[in-house]
């Protein structure tokens, strides 16, 4: 889509304004958008929302069907798979929001079998005994017995 103002550059900014109680929507290129709203706050707020050139209006999540445009309005994604569906858009936005792009916290390692769960419980049991929390220790000991059948 071409910019609705200069009709030359590709439209990369979605601009919305209320004039005399009417909502006016425009698709603009960055220079034209800057003329309409020249303050830097807009720049800052819009930084994550500047559209990549590839007609993202049609981008929808492959799993839940949420359009990317809906996320732009509500800041809420539709399902966990939206992160892969909207990876091109979000990979630019996330570092701006978070300052980093990669998780460094604890990893999710679900215990998949009884053996692994029992091993985890034994560690918890040792922990509770070390902290002299004998009530918890007794509970965990019962749990281990149950798991081991």
């Amino acid at each position: 889509m071409k910019c609705e103002s200069c009709r030359k550059n590709p439209a990369t900014v979605y601009y919305k304004e209320v004039v005399h109680n009417q909502v006016v929507e425009k698709h603009l290129c960055e220079p034209c958008a800057d003329q309409l709203a020249p303050f830097s706050l807009i720049d800052h707020l819009m930084a994550g929302f500047r559209r990549p050139p590839a007609e993202p209006k049609r981008v929808k999540c492959a799993s839940c069907g949420l359009p990317y445009a809906s996320f732009q309005k509500t800041w809420l994604l539709g399902c966990p798979d939206c992160y892969s569906s909207f990876a091109p858009q979000l990979s630019a936005l996330i570092p701006k929001l978070q300052g980093f792009e990669r998780h460094r916290g604890g990893a999710y390692e679900p215990a998949t079998n009884v053996g692994a769960i029992v091993a985890k419980r034994r560690a918890e049991l040792a922990d509770s005994i070390a902290k002299e929390d004998f009530e918890a220790a007794a509970r965990i000991r019962d749990e281990i017995r149950k798991l081991e059948g």
Partner: protein, 344 residues
């Protein structure tokens, strides 16, 4: 255990009377793989998540005596009570059916189901105790993760409905009483300074610059790219600096404006003791001054009574302790009564 019983029980998380840091809270946002987020879910989907989450929580030792509450099943008054205790958000209270909360006695651990994310695990503890509070929460998280398929990505961490919670999903916050910084007018500068440290602060009651009761919540502003322990340590450090600032302002006020400070505290106490009608806003502002006066030894009002009133003077709490719903003016009359009884 019934919800009413839990809400009438002692609030374990209320810390040392008069402390600058009232309570510490940590929450972890978790979502379930293969399910749409609550805001994008059909009713049947919400129902399935609620049942799945309740089932997983029922097996947890930490929830042996917990209340399992479907918010649609309890009265509006009970929902407001949960909001006043900061257990659920106002948004969650009014979101409609298939929202729920699992709440341990004393409110030290809770799980919100179908708020913005499928699960929000919360730990609440008295005073400045984020690290200790996190330990319990981490164990609950690990156990729930065995039974529930968390949505997790190696690069992005735990996947949340809003990317501002992505990664660790961890928000560590403290509730602080900062009356001296408010009196000297230095609060804004101090809070602005927190931004650079990756913290965000907001008043608990009131809007914009009109903060009621001088109560603030400070928390980490980002959740991705650092470890859980890093986020918790940075909040604890920021809180430590804030407390030191508040204390130095108090010392300054005491040495330069002792008479004024004492006068303000005593006048506030006078109003609280003699008013026959008290709005929540007025009660909160006056209680804040009395709390400061008592903490500095200018008044001999027992601090634990003042602290209790910060919670018991709230509208839903008042109505529950009065045994039923009250109309607007009745609430203010009743508030004046309980404040008078607690402080005289």
């Amino acid at each position: 255990m019934r919800l009413a019983h839990i809400l009438r029980s002692k609030m374990e998380w209320l810390g040392r009377p008069g402390a600058t840091v009232l309570s510490s809270r940590i929450r972890l946002a978790r979502s379930l793989r293969g399910r749409p987020f609550p805001n994008h879910s059909e009713a049947t989907e919400l129902r399935a998540v609620l049942l799945q989450a309740f089932r997983a929580c029922k097996g947890q030792p930490a929830f042996a005596k917990a209340a399992f509450v479907e918010l649609d099943d309890v009265t509006e008054l009970d929902r407001t009570l949960l909001v006043e205790r900061h257990v659920i958000s106002h948004q969650q209270a009014t979101a409609g059916p298939d929202r729920g909360v699992v709440l341990s006695p004393g409110e030290s651990l809770s799980v919100l189901v179908n708020e913005e994310d499928h699960l929000r695990l919360q730990g609440l503890s008295p005073g400045l105790s984020l690290e200790a509070g996190f330990e319990r929460l981490r164990r609950l998280d690990s156990r729930l993760g065995e039974q529930l398929p968390y949505a997790y990505d190696d690069k992005l961490g735990y996947l949340t409905a809003c990317p501002t919670n992505l990664g660790t999903g961890l928000r560590a916050s403290c509730l602080l009483h900062l009356p001296a910084l408010m009196i000297t007018g230095r609060i804004q500068t101090v809070l602005d300074g927190l931004g650079g440290a990756g913290m965000v602060a907001r008043g608990i009651y009131g809007e914009g610059s009109r903060v009621l009761g001088d109560l603030f919540q400070v928390s980490n502003s980002t959740t991705l790219g650092r470890t859980e322990a890093d986020y918790i340590r940075s909040v604890e450090r920021a809180i430590g600096r804030l407390v030191a600032r508040e204390e130095s302002e108090r010392r300054m006020l005491l040495s330069d404006n002792r008479l004024q400070l004492e006068d303000q505290a005593a006048r506030s106490l006078g109003l609280l003791l003699h008013a026959r009608v008290l709005s929540f806003d007025e009660a909160l502002s006056l209680l804040s001054r009395v709390r400061l006066g008592a903490e500095l030894g200018l008044l001999d009002t027992p601090l634990e009574n003042v602290d209790r009133l910060f919670i018991e003077a709230r509208p839903a709490h008042l109505q529950v302790t009065s045994g039923g719903e009250l109309e607007g003016p009745e609430i203010d009359r009743r508030r004046a009564e309980i404040v008078r009884a607690a402080l005289s």
